[in-house]
Each structure stands twice: as C-alpha cells, then as structure tokens.
Symmetry: C2
C-alpha cells in the first residue's frame, strides 16, 4: 500500500472541522492532514490541534503552505470568491487541488477556473459531494429501463432554520457570490439532477426572497429544457419556508415507465420504479432503499480525488470545473430569468 497523500488545508471553517477532517481520519490510508492556513490564525491553530497538525505547519499565508514540499495536495474551503486565485497558486506550485463548491463567485471567474484546469495535467476538482451519492448509479440503472425519458419534476424544499451555523458565516450573510443560498445549496441539487438526466439547455424561473437573513433571493421555481434532448421539467429549490417537511424529491417520466426518488433525511434514498408502456398494462413495480454515506458523498468524493491524484489521471475527477461550471451557470440563468420576469434564458457554457 502506498503512503497517504499529505493534505494542506486552506480554510479551516465549519465544513473542514465537521466533514473533511473526519473523512481524512476515516481514510487515514489515503489522506493525512499535514498543514493548514486560515485567515483568522487562531482558528487554524485550534483546527491543527484537533487534526494533529504540527504547530510549525500552521501557516500565516497561503504561499508558505504551498512552498511546503511535504504538502502533496491542497484542500480548499474558502469563501468561493477566492477559489480561482487559490487554485491558480496551487497549480503553479505543482499541487493537485480540490475546492469547495460552488465553483466560484460568478461565471467569469468560474470560466477562468475551467481554463486553468484544462491547461494543466494536475487534477483540479470541485468538491461537489452530491455527484458521489450512492443513489446516483442506482438511479441511472433504473432510468435506463423507462426510456426514452420525457420529463421530470425536481423539488427540494425545506423550512427555514434561523439558527443554522452556516447562516451566521459572514461571507454567506454578505454574499459576494451570485445567488447566495440559491447557489450555495442549489448547486448540490443541480449536480444531482444533471448527472442523472443531462445538461440543462434553457430555463425560465421565478424567484423571491422570503427571509431577510438570506441576504438575497432564497427560493426559485423554474421550468427547464435539457440541452441535448427533448426532456422538459420543473426545478424547485428553497429552504426558507415555514414548517414543512425537508424533502428532496425527483420524479422522472419516461414513455415506458417512471422513477421516483426521495432522499429521506439524508440517510437513505428511496427509489421506486414502475415499468410499463401505458396505464392499461400491469406495471412492473420495484422499490429499493439505498443507504447514503454518513457525510453524504464527501467520503466518495475524496476517494475519487485520491484515485485521480494517485493515478495521475485528471479525467477520473467527477467534479471537474467544467462539470461544476454548469451548476453555477444554471443558477446564473435563474437569476437572469427572474430579473427578466421569468423569460427563458439559455444556460451559458464555459
């Protein structure tokens, strides 16, 4: 067995502490946190203690972390408007890099990140954990049975949580990235939807802000047409409502059946398949429960990154900047459409 990758962690906030660090500890054969940097140094110090990082490797700036030869790969969890710059420096330092989603603060910056990734042989990954959910391959297998696919309804809604620790993050309260919470949570939904059904070609959306704490619009209701097929559908996202069940629901309609997916409390996914050409034949029905990983795909996301780095093959990366660009481009199209009274907008390509 080869040695684990030594990870330099840039940005030691909530997600680093609660999700990435436990993932590294769980996969200690593959990852070892060896260095870190945070704008507020005291937070980095505290993180280093928890992570078992030597005091001397808590760096005062990014450049010094990147100059550390013991750092093999860089794990970046900074406000997304710093993603491109951080990735660029990492690549210049010859280090593969994984960056938290959304890809960047806006499409212009995101485009530069796509170009950067496509101009190097080093793996550059966007940490979009929903691409790595256990339900994805199972859904694909079921969807293949109901084709041709005609339409879908995607609905991810939930109540507002005023005490959410994410809500208190200053870069989320005063977002420099487009879409605010709509892109923060929305790109996850769009990653799942588009990895299952294909890229979105155009969308028409209405959007509103329900809670002042959201900083900007926090609900979107849209109609959608895919890019490379005649598939149409609706996409709904919002977690700013009064009491309602937290629900992630996808129903896909084919000419030979339908597949319904419910993600229940992020622990497992229920997939119900009905196969049959019309309502007049007896449908073949099947329901399966798919257990999701405790960190909801973060584990598989890092295994994927590990494989790409250790095999020196960037094509292995599922969450490439080009893929993640699409998710943010859809959010940008939502915002543009909503600003234009719901008229359909063609989703930008990088």
């Amino acid at each position: 067995m080869s040695a684990p990758l030594n990870v330099g962690i840039v940005g030691t906030g909530i997600f680093a502490r609660n999700k990435h660090l436990p993932t590294f500890q769980q996969h200690s054969d593959k990852f070892k946190p060896v260095a870190c940097f945070n704008r507020t140094k005291s937070k980095a110090d505290a993180f280093a203690v928890t992570a078992g990082i030597e005091e001397s490797k808590v760096y005062a700036d990014l450049d010094h972390l990147l100059q550390d030869d013991s750092v093999d790969v860089v794990d970046v969890m900074v406000p997304v408007q710093f993603n491109y710059e951080t990735a660029k420096k990492s690549v210049e330092a010859g280090k593969p890099v994984i960056l938290e989603k959304p890809i960047e603060a806006n499409l212009e910056q995101a485009k530069k990140l796509v170009q950067l990734a496509e101009s190097t042989e080093l793996p550059v990954a966007i940490a979009e954990n929903w691409l790595h959910l256990e339900c994805v391959p199972i859904m694909k297998e079921k969807l293949a049975k109901i084709g041709p696919i005609a339409a879908f309804t995607y609905n991810s809604t939930g109540p507002f949580y005023p005490s959410s620790e994410y809500l208190a993050t200053s870069w989320r309260k005063h977002p420099e990235h487009i879409g605010g919470f709509l892109s923060d949570g929305g790109v996850h939904q769009l990653a799942l939807l588009t990895t299952l059904l294909g890229d979105i070609g155009s969308i028409a959306a209405f959007s509103n802000q329900l809670r002042k704490e959201s900083g900007t619009n926090d609900i979107v209701f849209s109609s959608v047409k895919l890019r490379d097929s005649d598939v149409i559908g609706t996409f709904t996202y919002g977690s700013a409502f009064g009491a309602t069940e937290k629900s992630v629901f996808l129903k896909v309609y084919g000419l030979n059946g339908s597949v319904t997916m419910n993600i229940n409390a992020r622990t497992c996914t229920t997939i119900k398949t009905m196969i049959g050409s019309t309502g007049e034949v007896e449908a073949e029905e099947e329901t399966v429960e798919v257990k999701e990983q405790p960190f909801f795909g973060v584990e598989a996301e890092f295994e994927n990154f590990y494989e790409a780095v250790s095999k020196k093959d960037k094509s292995i990366v599922k969450g490439s900047p080009r893929v993640a660009f699409h998710h943010l481009a859809i959010v940008a199209a939502f915002l543009e459409s909503a600003a234009k009274e719901g008229t359909a907008i063609v989703v930008q390509q990088p």
Copy 2:
C-alpha cells in the same frame, strides 16, 4: 318545495349519459330531463329512452328545442367550438344555460361568451366541476393558517390510456379547440389551483407531444407567477406517460407552514397541514381526509346552477364565463410560451 327545473339537453355524448343524467336522476327534486338534441339523432333517441324523455321531445335541431316552452334551462355538452353559438341562442330564447368546459375553442370566442354572460341577467355557467370539489373549502380554511403564502408546486400527472373512450371522440382526435388534451384536462387543474390561490399573472412553459393519438401537445411543465400577489410556483400537467401513479398533488408553502393536498383516485382528498414559522419550532400537524362526491363535483356544480336559476341571481354561479375564461387563457399562454421557447407570457384577461 318548488317544481324541478325542466332541462333541455344539447349533446347526448359520453358525459351526458355517464355523469349529467345520473346527477339529474339523483337530484330529481331539482332537475328533470324533458328534451334533447344531438347531431346524430340515433344517439339522442337512445339517450331519450334512458332518460325518460318523450319521443316527441327528441328534437332535430337546437332551435326547436329552444322554442319548447316546457324547457326551463339548457344543459350543453357539445364540442366546445359550438359553446358560444349555443349559449347565445339559449340566452336569446330566454333560457339559463350551463355549458361543458373548456369555455370555448379559443380566447376570441371565449371573450364573446364572457360578454354574452355579462350582458344578460340569465345565469350562464361553465360546468367546471373541479370548482365544486369538497376539498376546496377545506383547503381554503387550511391555507388561511399558513399565510402569507409564498409558493406552490402543482403536479397532476398520469399514464397514457390508449383505450380511453374520450380519446376516441372525433372532436378530441381532431381538435378545433386550442390545447387539445392540455386544455381538456388542464382547465380542471387550473380551476382548482386558481380557485385556491388566485389568478395567474404570467407563465413560462415547455410543452411536448408524447403520443400521436393526442393530436397535439400533451404534456406541459411550467413556472408561474400569480397576478395579485408575489406567489410563485410550478404547474405540471400530463397524462401521456408510461406507467406511473395517477396523481394530483398540490403543495403550498407559506411563511407560517405548508399544506399538502393529494387527490387519491378521485374518491377522496388527503390534506396535510403543518403550522409553524421555521424548522426550529415544533410544527402543529394535522391530516384530514375529505371524501369527494361520486361524480367529483358535478353534483355540487348542478346544485349551484339550480340555486342561481331558482333565485334568479347569476352572481351565485361559481363557474362564470369570466372565471372559466381565465383557465383557458392560461392554456393559451402555455402554448404561446412553449412555441416561443419558454418566453414568459402574460395571461390574457377577457
């Protein structure tokens, strides 16, 4: 108790035989079929036998039926492109009239019907039975508890039924009315949605034809903004898919809770209410089952018409042409938007 209204039936097709006639028989204190007319006279003859209508009152044309002084009101179930002309003649003959939905074949004709209805004191009603569902008042009561309402998802989908007797109707196979099955079934959905939440101001829609038997587009996926509020949502309708559960589903999100409605196999409606301002307070939950009438509102629709006629008060009519115009105008907006690649369309007013 006053005598029942004597009904002249114009158009003795499937719906007359299976729904209206049994409704009259069930409410024999209020309605008595006394005359009928059908383009194919043999069908009218057969209907008359079942309905107990005298042979001499099976008329060879509409004018003779309308000249019959024993006919108090006219019940019209003809291809909708004849609705305006039939209503006009009925009003000229001094007879209140109820006409099957959709209101007319297109908005121009529908507008004339609205004007006709608003230029007479006689009740002119569109038989939109979904306005009269038992769930409507209960839903309104629940919705009042979760306000202000922010958004909704309406999804009415089902499998294709190639042997449907309605599919075989020649005026449906070669529709002269806009929207084909989208308006035929869609106006029901839109009647329910808008009577609960208010009129729709603008929509953006994608639409396709999945089955050649449909004659025209048979599925629509749209995003919607209400006219007199900030409420946004999605509206989905289609009954042309492969195997899938027949489902009519409405979820309404408010700032103080949510209401979910499921119409199950058209026999009863399940309404689940959650009240609470955020996900952090314990929600007050309640689920009620509302039993629908056997003919799904047709009974109440005729009671409503009876009341308007017997009290000589047209304002009692729930399904006024102005109300029904809105439902068809939304379908027209769907078609226009879909033809323009999802451009948002303002819904026409009469």
